[in-house]
């Protein structure tokens, strides 16, 4: 892990915001070569906005103490692909280079941890970068432990903006993606590395998918969101300093095409939280569960 952290620190040193912006703006805008000839699951039409909305029944659990789960009822998604620029909900990116099997992007993406804490956080409208309405995270009014600590009494856990690089590949039906990210908003100044791999199989009308992944978060991120300072803990013995840690997830999905615009969509996801999170006095679950079943409409 020291090696990864060293690498991320190196990334931190190298991707200052101005340098990243310069890279985005000054890179040659020559169109990328690819095998795309039609819009599809794998190919997007350049210069066209796409809107999708999933409507159904679902839920994402909230691991914080005394917090409500997040209902998934209406989950919209908006995306736009330029020749190199792209937007997928809150994620902005610029494709630096691409071949038929690899893609290297510079990306700006929101951190995900603030969603557990802030009712109005922009992440509360998203599911892994996907827009989601009707969240109702509500830190409770009841004390966490022995009337000494309340989520409302903690310092505000703000949303951080992460920038970095994303390398992805599609090889023999297996897709994987690696993101190396650094907080550029100086919220916690931490680093994050995300890796996931998955595959899908099926026909034109029905498709199954399975994926799994790991996310590493630096101690700066973990401590900012899940640590409890001496000041916050007050006289209680609940002060906690979080270290870096891994969370892992596994996910199964199913889609069935009903018409050119409608699909049935179902998924279930299990996320195992890191010990650094579960040891925190403000976390009382060691996992996050998510499921959804509903219709998906493509505008």
């Amino acid at each position: 892990m020291r090696t990864l952290k060293t690498a991320l620190n190196s990334v931190q040193a190298n991707i200052k915001p101005i340098a990243l912006l310069s890279m985005l703006l000054l890179s040659p805008s020559k169109a990328l070569s690819n095998d795309c000839v039609d819009p599809s699951e794998a190919c997007a039409t350049v210069g066209e906005w796409e809107f999708q909305v999933a409507v159904g029944v679902g839920k994402r659990t909230n691991p914080l103490v005394d917090s409500d789960d997040i209902p998934l009822v209406v989950v919209p998604q908006v995306s736009y692909y330029g020749e190199r620029f792209f937007l997928e909900n809150l994620e902005l990116g610029y494709t630096l280079t691409e071949s038929n099997h690899f893609m290297l992007n510079a990306i700006l993406t929101p951190g995900r941890d603030s969603a557990y804490f802030l009712r109005e956080d922009i992440n509360n409208f998203f599911v892994d970068g996907v827009l989601e309405f009707s969240n109702s995270i509500q830190p409770g009014d009841t004390p966490i432990d022995a009337d000494t600590l309340d989520l409302d009494d903690l310092h505000k856990r703000r949303l951080a903006g992460l920038a970095g690089f994303e390398l992805s590949s599609d090889w023999a039906g297996l897709q994987w993606q690696l993101q190396l990210l650094q907080d550029i908003t100086r919220v916690h100044k931490g680093q994050e590395a995300r890796f996931a791999a998955g595959f899908s199989s099926g026909s034109q009308t029905q498709r199954f998918s399975a994926s799994a992944g790991l996310t590493w978060k630096s101690d700066a991120i973990m401590n900012y969101y899940y640590g409890v300072s001496l000041k916050e803990a007050g006289p209680s013995p609940l002060a906690y300093e979080a270290s870096s840690g891994f969370t892992s997830f596994a996910r199964l999905g199913w889609q069935k095409k009903l018409s050119p615009r409608w699909r049935l969509n179902a998924s279930v996801q299990y996320e195992q939280l890191s010990q650094a999170m579960t040891d925190s006095p403000i976390v009382d679950e060691n996992k996050v569960l998510q499921f959804f079943i509903g219709g998906l409409y493509h505008f």
Binding site: A44, Q77, D128, E166
Partner: protein, 123 residues
């Protein structure tokens, strides 16, 4: 080859009577989301001498309109098409081609690129 030959024959068939045929508009550009050109075309023709003639759309056997010994004429014609249309002015007597003009339908060329690969995508 048959088509080329036909065009050559038509071109050679132009008679000494000079005629002009004007389309307004003469071009329709379909965006990537449009499939049909829905437009009203103003068709005007003029000849050096009065003749019995008819206006045809090349793919339709029957004439759109005929005129009796006139030197000029006009027609407002509604089109709803996904392809180019050729309008022709022909003599009634022997079907001689007097003038021809094309209403062009062209499409904006779509460009595609790879999407991001996101194994954890909700969708």
């Amino acid at each position: 080859m048959t088509l080329l030959l036909s065009i050559q024959v038509d071109a050679n068939a132009l008679p000494p009577e000079k005629g002009s045929l004007q389309l307004t508009p003469k071009l329709c550009v379909l965006s990537r989301k449009e499939t049909l050109c829905d437009s009203q075309i103003d068709i005007q023709w003029a000849l050096e001498q009065p003749l019995l003639l008819c206006l045809f759309e090349k793919d339709i056997p029957s004439p759109l309109m005929c005129w009796q010994k006139q030197q000029q004429g006009q027609l407002q014609y509604q089109v709803n098409t996904d392809h180019s249309l050729t309008f022709q002015l022909r003599k009634q007597q022997d079907d001689t081609l007097l003038a021809s003009e094309i209403y062009k339908v062209i499409r904006e060329q779509a460009q595609y690129r790879q999407r991001r690969r996101k194994p954890w995508n909700f969708f």
